[in-house]
């Protein structure tokens, strides 16, 4: 066991995966010599050589396209998109190719690739360094979509993703890289070294894809969250005193519906939170599922708290970000509705 930031645990995951399986290769923009703009791949080229960790040209479609070809050959590429906001040039390769290859070839060819990308706001990155595009992937059959909320999960999920035989979109909430940010941007963030989930096994372990975890047991309302919003939800619960049960989804696709249904049937109320824009966000799917599967247990409409339906603004970052106050409001609303 060691204390790790989320950057370190992600790096450790790739290190472990590369060490165990020489088919694992890592590449992307600036990930080779320099080790990535967030330093997640630091040292990998030095340890495993330029053959297995290298810089890529700035062409996201090429990065994913080449990774698909490599995977079809038999490797297991784990590639980095420098920011989730820059994944769109690769969208065709992801949606039309990686996601469909197994199906269309009836298993003759497969694309076991992992596509890592820093996601989310909170670093004054403006509209092109803050996006949360998970819902653009959850609509795509054939993909798995993962969003960790802490170093321990990040490592276990990333190893699981690399070892998984299907393509995985791995979204890393960049605001969590160094500590469990709870949305109180004006307060200093506790480092991961002070957090239980910053204690991470140095060796090989996995956190299974498709399994949610309850971060906090509660009786009054279920809060469905992932990534940064797990910590924001914790703050909101603490501040409102409402006894919320916080379910950290971890994997959005495939979803752990059983865990969700069990919790909402118990609490009778549900708030869904994410940072991505509201309309057609993943919260829509969650709300739709909850109302379908828990209709007769629900005592109030499912509330969604999300980013506004605008690009992510620079100056108004904290007005855009769905922080503890907005989650608290939703919790209060959902409790009022009786």
């Amino acid at each position: 066991m060691a204390r790790m930031t989320m950057i370190e645990s992600i790096r450790s995951a790739m290190h472990v995966a590369m060490d165990r399986d020489e088919k694992v290769v890592v590449f992307g923009e600036d990930v080779g010599y320099f080790g990535g703009v967030f330093r997640c791949t630091q040292g990998l080229q030095q340890t495993f050589g330029k053959n297995r960790c290298f810089d890529a040209p700035i062409n996201e479609s090429g990065i994913v396209g080449a990774a698909i070809g490599m995977a079809a050959y038999g490797l297991r590429p784990c590639v980095e998109i420098q920011f989730a906001d820059y994944v769109y040039p690769a969208y065709d390769q992801i949606v039309s190719e990686a996601a469909r290859l197994r199906y269309r070839s009836n298993g003759d060819f497969t694309a076991p690739i992992t596509i890592r990308m820093p996601t989310g706001g909170g670093i004054f990155g403006g509209q092109t360094h803050s996006q949360s595009p998970e819902a653009l992937f959850t609509h795509v059959s054939g993909l798995k979509v993962v969003v960790p909320s802490n170093p321990r999960d990040a490592k276990g999920l990333l190893i699981a993703a690399i070892e998984d035989d299907d393509p995985v979109i791995f979204l890393e909430p960049k605001r969590l890289y160094n500590g469990p940010f709870d949305g109180h941007h004006d307060k200093p963030v506790t480092p991961w070294s002070k957090h239980e989930l910053g204690e991470v096994d140095e060796g090989h372990f996995t956190v299974p894809l498709g399994k949610a975890v309850t971060r906090r047991e509660g009786s009054q309302v279920t809060i469905l969250a992932y990534g940064t919003m797990v910590h924001v939800a914790e703050a909101a619960v603490a501040e409102t005193g409402i006894d919320g049960e916080i379910v950290d989804l971890r994997t959005l696709l495939p979803l752990d519906l059983d865990a969700i249904v069990a919790s909402v049937r118990k609490t009778g109320r549900c708030v869904v939170v994410h940072e991505a824009t509201l309309t057609s966000g993943y919260g829509a799917e969650l709300a739709a599922l909850v109302q379908e599967h828990c209709f007769y247990s629900l005592e109030a409409p499912v509330q969604r708290v999300a980013g506004w339906d605008t690009p992510y603004p620079h100056a108004q970052e904290w007005d855009y970000f769905p922080g503890p106050r907005r989650v608290a409001e939703a919790l209060t609303t959902v409790m009022e509705d009786v």
């Binding site: 040209p57 479609s61 090429g62 070809g69 269309r104 009836n106 003759d108």
Partner: protein, 414 residues
Amino acid sequence: MTTDPAHTSPLSLTVPEPEFRPGDKPDYSTTPIPRAGTVRRPEVDEDPEQFRELAYTIIRVLNRKGEAVGPWAGLVDDEMALTGLKDMMKVRAFDARMLMAQRQGKTSFYMQCLGEEAIACAFEKALRPGDMNFPTYRQQGLLISGGYPIVDMMNQIYSNERDPLNGRQLPIMYSSKEHGFFSISGNLGTQYPQAVGWAMASAISGDTKVAAGWIGDGSTAESDFHAALVFASTYKAPVVLNIVNNQWAISTFQGIAKGGSGTFAARGHGFGIPALRVDGNDYLAVYAVAKWAVERARRNLGPTVVEYVTYRVGGHSTSDDPAAYRPKEESDVWPLGDPIERLKNYLVGRGLWSEDRHTQYKAEVEAEILAAQKEAEEHGTLHAGGKPSVRDMFEGVYKEMPPHLRRQRQRAGV
């Protein structure tokens, strides 16, 4: 900014137009076609800058008299030439049959490669087992000359109960890892960087296998073409990047994709990738160039761009009628001739083949195709007979079926 008041005349937009449209009488008699045998053959390890001109000419082996001439001749022995002819005839017979089957409503869609048979048939012979093609929908010749079972191709086309792809894919979107034939994508260009990635993987693994990417003239305009060339150039991937220039992209003539550039092959130069342009209707030339490019890849010398000059004689697909946008006679007067006729003449000239043998073989291969068709149809056609299971529709989205698909399958009652 300068406020230079000098008068400038109004700008105008250039929109390239093909030489001939329906109603015109197509005439290529003045189109310059290099004579067979006149283009030099560099060593595979020669500095690419030394043979840039090969991207602007046409490498040809078979001359008008049906002789193989020049430095690119002599690579195809008689046995291979005979096989080549038979392969091409089989492809043509297959295409004709399947086109008919589609017209008869036995399937939804078909795409032939009429007039382009030499390219895939000859290229395939330059590869080794284990190498991988990333084909488009017009390289059925790779499968047929590679010995993939005709009946399985038909099963796929019919989406029947024996369809190797379980009815999931559009007709002709074959896949066969065993035969070095990557799953065809309906999306243009996407497979080009994948071919480069596959080749990079071979290099990363210290393997000896090479890859071949395939793309059409129209599709070179796709951005993934660039992605592929950038990656191939940077990592010196062992890949042959084939461009099949059959003059048309559905209704759009090659000039819209090519713009002001001399040739498609020349696109390679901007990346330092050597580029060869070859007569795609000349089996001997195609093989010679393919062999050269494959050897270059295999010897770790990096990628090669090869442009095959050919003509799409048929419609783009069964959904297309080219009479709406080009003169009907254009394919007849197209200056590079028919690949089957040309190789036949060569073999006849060498005393290895005859008109009679040709007629006879044509009948044989048609019978073979017909027999395969009968066999395939016993397992169903798209709208009749054996079908892939509906239950299968939910399989193979992932390696293991996740709960939500299980629920959906249940809901579908299958």
